[in-house]
């Protein structure tokens, strides 16, 4: 069990990092990575949503969908849960942390379509994780996302865009930076216990 837990953590954080290796959650990764502070906020929001979504979708899948052979409703049921959760988080953040809300802007509602969230819930089912492992995988996959987005924001903060050729300022240079980071992440591949 302990071995399984550690290997899930390593895979979720590094070897199968959601952003760098699996291409999940690219939109918020590019959109909200200009400042470390907002990147941290986004990472935390995603972690929160993914951890809870992993648990709820596991419960729904286990007690309803599998019980009644309704696997074909997985996508719609899961996305409904995620959308509901995200909007709930959005309202909560708007009320209690307005500055974070302003910083996250349009990306908070877009967590709904952050494929990382739906991806992790579907992967949980696919890998036949139990309740605890689903929660674990959801949390650490989100932390892997957070790691990538914070690293990216750290780089972009120091990147003097004035020194970049004008057509490449903004997203193009961010994408190229992400590509170089992804090459670094391929260095982790094969690392397991």
């Amino acid at each position: 069990m302990a071995k399984e837990i550690i290997s899930i953590i390593i895979a979720a954080l590094l070897t199968e990092n959601f952003v760098m290796v699996k291409f999940y959650g690219i939109c918020p990764f590019l959109g909200v990575s200009k400042k470390v502070e907002t990147a941290m906020g986004m990472g935390m929001a995603v972690t929160f949503v993914m951890a809870i979504a992993s648990m709820i979708t596991w419960l729904v899948n286990h007690f309803f969908l599998q019980q009644f052979n309704l696997e074909y409703l997985q996508t719609i049921a899961f996305i409904l849960i995620i959308a509901g959760l995200v909007q709930f988080v959005e309202m909560f953040v708007k009320k209690s942390m307005p500055s974070l809300y302003n910083a996250l802007g349009i990306y908070l509602p877009l967590i709904t379509t952050n494929c990382a969230v739906l991806g992790v819930t579907l992967l949980n089912v696919q890998n036949e994780y139990n309740f605890f492992l689903s929660f674990l995988y959801g949390t650490f996959a989100a932390l892997g996302f957070t790691l990538a987005i914070i690293l990216m924001a750290g780089i972009r903060e120091y990147l003097d865009e004035k020194a970049v050729a004008a057509p490449f300022r903004g997203f193009p240079i961010a994408l190229i930076t992400a590509g170089l980071m992804a090459i670094a992440f391929t260095g982790f591949s094969g690392f397991s216990i």
Binding site: V60, F64, L65, F68, N69, L70, L73, I76, A77, L80, I81, A83, G84, Q87, F88, M91, F92, K94, K95, S96, P98, N102, K162, A163, A165, A166
Partner: protein, 264 residues
């Protein structure tokens, strides 16, 4: 049939639960005063230029409602915008302090020749890093037009190696002033009549060696002014517009013709 009913019950049930939760949350977590912020945001020009001193139009809108920021800070939208915000907030708009950008340099290619031939990218910041810029004067306008690229209102042109502001188009947002690596663009009141056209802070001798139209810090203007409005700070004349009445006497006295009276 039974299968269908169960499917409907499960997904419908999820819908019901989340619908209730969201509706409940939207009541509990409702953010008050929201509509005024939205209205102000609609009234603002949306250029997000930051001239008001806030991070953008939405930040300014929030600051007006939450922190009681003045309604007349938007120098892009000017009076009409201030009036409409004042209407939303139910206060008096007052005067909008209109500003305009002014380039404090006349060191064009004729009076301040280039040190070397520059073939790099057309960007002042890049140029400023290369051997201290292309002109001998270390405060001079570099003329690559970085200010022109940030101006959202097409108000800047570069003529003969020096940026020039079209005051009719300039909204006073200050984007150019903030981007300029030489700080050669100053935001001055639109009403200002007298302006200093140099920012060279070298001592007189080297200043005039580096540029033919440089302020030499002779303090003639300071002595002439009857209103204590112009001073030589760091070897260059500087006008305090809260005191200047626009008489133009300093401009008459300036031996280098660095101070000028604006037309109109």
């Amino acid at each position: 049939m039974g299968d269908i009913l169960i499917a409907v019950a499960v997904v419908g049930g999820l819908g019901l639960v989340f619908g209730l939760l969201l509706a409940f949350a939207s009541e509990v977590f409702a953010v008050k005063q929201d509509d005024r912020i939205d209205k102000i945001q609609d009234a603002l020009p949306g250029a997000n230029c930051g001239a008001c001193g806030f991070a953008g139009c939405s930040a300014y809108a929030a600051a007006i409602v939450n922190d009681g920021a003045p309604v007349n800070m938007c120098s892009v939208g000017k009076k009409p915008v201030a009036d409409s915000i004042a209407l939303i907030m139910g206060v008096d708009a007052g005067e909008v302090a209109e500003k305009v950008a002014h380039v404090k340099c006349r060191g064009n290619c004729d009076v301040s020749p280039a040190k070397y031939e520059y073939v790099g990218i057309s960007d002042c910041i890049a140029l400023s890093k290369l051997a201290g810029g292309i002109k001998h004067c270390r405060n001079a306008c570099l003329g690559q037009g970085t200010c022109k690229t940030v101006c959202q209102f097409d108000a800047i042109t570069v003529e003969n190696g020096v940026a020039k502001i079209n005051e009719e188009l300039c909204t006073g947002c200050g984007a150019c002033s903030r981007i300029c690596p030489r700080n050669v663009i100053e935001m001055i009141p639109k009403k200002a009549k007298v302006v200093v056209n140099c920012s060279n802070n070298e001592k007189g001798q080297s200043a005039s060696r580096h540029c033919k139209s440089s302020c030499i810090g002779c303090k003639m203007c300071e002595k002439t002014c009857e209103h204590d409005a112009i001073h030589v700070v760091d070897n260059v004349a500087f006008i305090d517009y809260s005191k200047c009445i626009g008489c133009g006497k300093c401009a008459e006295k300036c031996p280098k013709g660095v101070i000028s009276v604006k037309a109109g």
